[in-house]
Symmetry: C2
Subunit: 282 residues, 2 copies
């Protein structure tokens, strides 16, 4: 029996209630209100930092994650598509028309379904490093789309975790979640307590830290990972790249061979090439 067919009858634990809503001002939709303008960052006044998933694929990944789901909102067709998974969560699923949804969230959603979750307890950097064989370490990756793409690429290419150094954006911001295809909810990440001092933590666990740079005097990425081992790739912000301190704290500076005269790749794309090489080193 699907969650949809039992709508309104059963509200016991681990079975979602499916509730129709036709008023965009309904208080029960508060988690989804004014998504384009509401600042949901937990570090801002009034920001609750809810995790918002958009679209069936990303909502599925949220439902499969350890994030505590609060509620879903979708058009009937999308909520029905998710019905089998809804049986495993205790959150209410609100069904509304596309118009009511658009008025609630403040823009037209062509993906037709949203879910909201609370933040989970953050991973501990040391535990994450202990369990990983390959890592990405980010410094100053402030662009939410680049951040999301890095998580998507890490998931696809088998990177075990992501460590956030200074000046990185929040990976759980709505746009990052969307661009990552929901993989920010699966790939473990942790903030590093000091910079670049925390890189010693990686070395203590046997990692070799490779700073990715377009500098022509750096070692070729492929040569740097010929030996099987535990590797961490250090990625800097697009434009300025890694700081001199980060570069100096790495075990080696590595480069992707670039065609003459061309500026470097997008940071997420360069990261993907590096993650691909790390996979070959395992």
């Amino acid at each position: 029996m699907s969650a949809v067919r039992i709508a309104g009858l059963c509200k016991t634990f681990r079975v979602s209630a499916v509730i129709e809503i036709d008023d965009p001002a309904d208080d029960r939709l508060a988690d989804f209100r004014d998504l384009s303008t509401a600042d949901r960052r937990p570090d801002r006044p009034g920001g609750r930092g809810l995790v918002i998933a958009e679209g069936v694929v990303v909502v599925e990944r949220l439902l499969a994650s350890h994030y505590p789901v609060r509620a879903l909102l979708g058009v009937r067709r999308r909520i029905e598509a998710l019905a089998p998974l809804l049986e495993t969560v205790s959150a209410p699923a609100y069904v509304a028309t596309a118009e009511v949804m658009a008025q609630t969230v403040g823009f037209h959603l062509n993906r037709g379904v949203l879910a909201a979750a609370d933040r989970a307890v953050p991973h501990d950097a040391e535990t994450l490093v202990s369990r990983a064989n390959s890592l990405a370490v980010l410094e100053g990756v402030g662009d939410h789309e680049n951040l999301g793409s890095i998580f998507r690429n890490a998931a696809a290419l088998g990177v075990d975790g992501i460590l956030l150094g200074p000046r990185c954006s929040d990976p759980l911001y709505r746009r990052s979640v969307r661009v990552s295809m929901g993989h920010v909810l699966a790939v473990p990440f942790a903030c590093l307590p000091s910079w670049p001092g925390s890189l010693d933590l990686l070395r203590d666990k046997g990692f070799r830290v490779l700073a990715l740079t377009p500098a022509p005097d750096a070692v070729l990425l492929r040569d740097a990972v010929r030996e099987p081992g535990r590797y961490a790739v250090l990625l800097g912000s697009e434009g300025p790249g890694l700081t001199a301190e980060a570069m100096a704290a790495a075990d080696a500076r590595v480069r992707i061979p670039m065609s003459g005269g061309v500026d470097s790749l997008n940071v997420a794309t360069a990261g993907a090439v590096a993650f691909y090489e790390l996979a070959a080193a395992r």
Copy 2:
């Protein structure tokens, strides 16, 4: 003597005129009007298909390209930054305030400078193939951002040209030009006359055509390019991927090793990994 310092004095060939404009309705700004709504596709009624470059870096690449520049529009600071290059073009450079620019183009431009050019004579596919050692061949890449990223990655990783199969978008559309960082203006591209029959053209010139797919029974990309040679990578649209006909017409199906259960990479990112391997094969 810079083009800016001689503004209004000299309009002879190969020296740009710098002209101040304070009326957003000025007819001389027609190339830049309503950029967000005007359909500039040459295949649509009224579409002239002008090439629009945004920002100093992309405008510099346009000025260095073979595209016939018609005009520039920018705030004074940006036009001054381009002054040395403007001495080599005969197009007028219009200087306006940020407000006049915003009213002309229909949105606020944070890059501060634009240039418009006519389309150039398209490359001939056969000539392009003859001169190349590595190629990307696209089928159904309709997303302008993916298309732009593929050109950027091709330029960075030394792919010699891009061939467009059926259902690809226009690489010279404004968003593609911007996302490519202007590299669509430098990396040669051509439309293939038939599909997938035109792939024979590549084989005749000694190319091995590799279809990129996430299928687990495909050959590993790295193994497929171990021999030095001329390679062409076939990339399909995100989502459905390559059609069965394209797959069957390739010499080999190749894959990037993916982590268990994860959907494939973005098409531009997968392409970058493939281009990286092709560079290693040269």
